[in-house]
Symmetry: C2
Subunit: 233 residues, 2 copies
DNA sequence: GTCTATAAACAGATAGAC
DNA sequence: GTCTATCTGTTTATAGAC
């Protein structure tokens, strides 16, 4: 039996029972597996109860272990939370890169399609959306963590920034990195804001709206840029 | 001595000591004042510790009262939090209405100016921004509260929706309420997303960016609408 | 490595004095 | 109305058995 990790943080087992030389897990592997299961349980409990509201007992129980096991893998609740924060950040980065890779391979696709896909991904991962809010609050309340968190968020924005940059390159000579960076911030802020609104009021925040907003935004940017170039030349 | 409430939820005393018939507060007035002070303290403590992380003792202490006083004014921590949620929502609604009223009286002002002003207001009220995130998480975790919260958010969006609608009326014959509503959602989502980003990474999220984004957005909407009308007519 | 048992601190909430 | 004292349950974290 072997545990693999999905991009979204879930797990599945290799059910290939015919595997010839199935062996016991080494101590290190077993411990790693326990850590992983604890982190997965922590994700659920922190998402539904918040950092302060979550109890280590519930996390351990949900993972199928005792409190003692938790404390032998993490120094405490805080470290568990911070490790989760780090692990989920890299998951998201991989996911985003993949999503935008798909986008690059279907370059004719309108912004609407990308927008709708992003929203539908967010609709499914309700746990992650709540966790993000929890991470943000933690960062705001712990200045020493804030910079690390901000750096991760910036990093996650990079693939988006590149996609936008290459989109703009089509229309003009050079690659305007500063513009791409600013637009990426706007696009991701818009995305996060809409996902949160939609979460509490889905009827009033249709999934297509994010795509519409992207179309408006990029139409406006191109028009504005054209106008600016027209004046300068 | 009389307590008045600022739009932003703060308080100030009338220092007019010469007031001739200064009288003792009635029991009801004293109780109302206690409630108000407790709510104000709760705002600070909930913002910095979160709902689960805040203790009623700290709230009572910060307000200058004992735990007993808190329990004689609220049934418990939960009611205190919900009352705060309701009171701060109406404060924000009044504030927004005022801000957009100013906007209406200076109709030539570009979107950039409005955007920058909104961001600078948010920069000052860091407590409120954290509270909003806390309210959102609470709503997400308590389905019975969610609809009430969503309704308050919708209500707060109304003045913005009207401003946008009247802006669009200039360009075309009728008032397109549906478009205005959708754009208002986009604008407020964008705002909230940028404020959160800016809170943890101010260097990378310049205050002007929100204004730029609004300009891009409205330029794009008008171009898109023009194109749509051109095709239909 | 993980479990059970427990220590020590703290939380929300109540009762009765004033 | 508000305060002090207290009850009860829960929490994080640790110690020692296996």
């Amino acid at each position: 039996m072997h545990w693999n990790r999905y991009l979204n943080g879930g797990y599945y087992m290799d059910m290939d029972a015919d595997q010839p030389q199935q062996r016991r897990l080494t101590r290190a592997e077993a411990k790693a597996r326990t850590r992983t299961l604890l982190l997965d349980a922590a994700s659920q409990v922190f998402a539904s109860q918040g950092f302060a509201g979550a109890s280590v007992e519930e996390i351990a129980e949900r993972a199928g272990f005792s409190i003692g096991a938790l404390y032998s893998n993490f120094t405490g609740k805080e470290e568990l939370f911070l490790e989760l924060m780090a692990s989920r950040a890299s998951d998201r980065a991989a996911e985003t890169t993949q999503l935008l890779q798909d986008e690059r391979e279907a370059p004719g696709r309108p912004w609407q399609a990308l927008g709708q896909q992003m929203i539908s991904v967010a609709d499914k991962n309700t746990e992650l959306v709540a966790l993000q809010a929890e991470f943000w609050l933690y960062a705001v309340r712990h200045p020493n963590v804030m910079e690390t968190f901000a750096a991760r968020v910036r990093q996650r924005r990079e693939p988006l920034e590149q996609l936008i940059g290459s989109e703009f390159s089509k229309d003009r000579g050079g690659y305007d990195g500063d513009l791409a960076s600013r637009v990426a911030i706007v696009v991701s802020a818009l995305f996060q804001g809409m996902v949160r609104q939609r979460r509490i009021d889905p009827d009033n925040v249709p999934a297509e709206l994010y795509g519409d907003a992207l179309r408006w935004l990029f139409t406006g940017i191109k028009a504005t840029e054209r106008a600016a170039r027209g004046e300068n030349q």
